[in-house]
Symmetry: C2
Subunit: 190 residues, 2 copies
Amino acid sequence: MNTAKRTYHHGDLRNALLMTALDTLVTEGLDKVTLRNIAKKTGVSQAAPYAHFKDKSALLVEVAAVGFSKLKYALSSELKECESTEEYRYVLSNMGVAYVEFAIENKALFRLMFGDVIAEFPKSESYSIEANAAFGCMEGAVQKISGVDFASDSAWSIVHGLASLIVDNRIQVEGDLKTYIREVTKFLDI
Amino acid sequence: MNTAKRTYHHGDLRNALLMTALDTLVTEGLDKVTLRNIAKKTGVSQAAPYAHFKDKSALLVEVAAVGFSKLKYALSSELKECESTEEYRYVLSNMGVAYVEFAIENKALFRLMFGDVIAEFPKSESYSIEANAAFGCMEGAVQKISGVDFASDSAWSIVHGLASLIVDNRIQVEGDLKTYIREVTKFLDI
DNA sequence: TTTGCAATCTTAACACTGTAAAGTTACTGT
DNA sequence: ACAGTAACTTTACAGTGTTAAGATTGCAAA
């Protein structure tokens, strides 16, 4: 895994565990993200993670935080300065597409970010920061169009709902994904 | 748990396990829904469930099916014959409220119904039937208003997204819940 | 530089999980 | 009456999260 020769003290174990966990989650699924497995993959004993994370959930919360950072990046990439409300509407539509595509391309990560594993668990600071930033990104785009209260909650809801239903296999999309997403979100009138 | 005296053969174990699991899920959360715990609560050995369910996931799928049946009931209660499209709009709005309220009042069950535990697992017939019926109920209400393609997917998405975000603690509602839900879903123009 | 301390890591153990194998019990149809 | 089969129990195994006790090391104070 790591060519650098291991000393007794790893030096950057916390981060290494985080990366191994993220990689394992994405490529092998949540089942394979066990503390023991992550520790072994990182080349360290099974109890070593406890020097850096209170428990397994604490690790997963940090992985989720990285996920939100990625989502934020995906959304902010769609953001740009526009001259008309109509253009901003298109930006928002693109963000919706990006949101759903992110969810589909990162199923396990997306589920972790929002799902039950983490829902009832105390959030870390970094989690809150990244999660709020991601939502704030969308909120910003909405406010270019409408200042009405709840408009951003509404936009987030429809996009998040669509993403969730697809990821959890309650909706099967046939045909072009992008156009499907645009069709569904088109009904949102903000 | 059960006053009826146990014989070697339970007689209705499958159903009893299902009810114990549902009850435990609702009152104690998913953590406490272990096969061993459910078996013990039902007054039966730890391996007994395997005579009725292939594995733990198969049990959970059936519990989820019961959940969809409950959701279907909650939604269909809002359904009634109306004389104007405007009235049907109100019915749909009520369904949205019912959907979100159901999710909040049955957090753990709602998460199970849609979440990762079940997402990648082969669904049983009863699960499919109940889940489709619940969605069909909403779809029916939408079609009274609009025949446009994707309109029902859109309605489902916004309501499901809102429910998920609240259940997973990404949105905290302050003030009256019903009015909040109506405000958010109002932006949907079908 | 030396020394002691605290952080980091390992080993060993515990209680709990899902699940399979093999044996016991009792219902069911002939 | 009696086989056969479905339902159930006991036992066992591998894997999990987590803790406790001890080994190792970097680092800061002397």
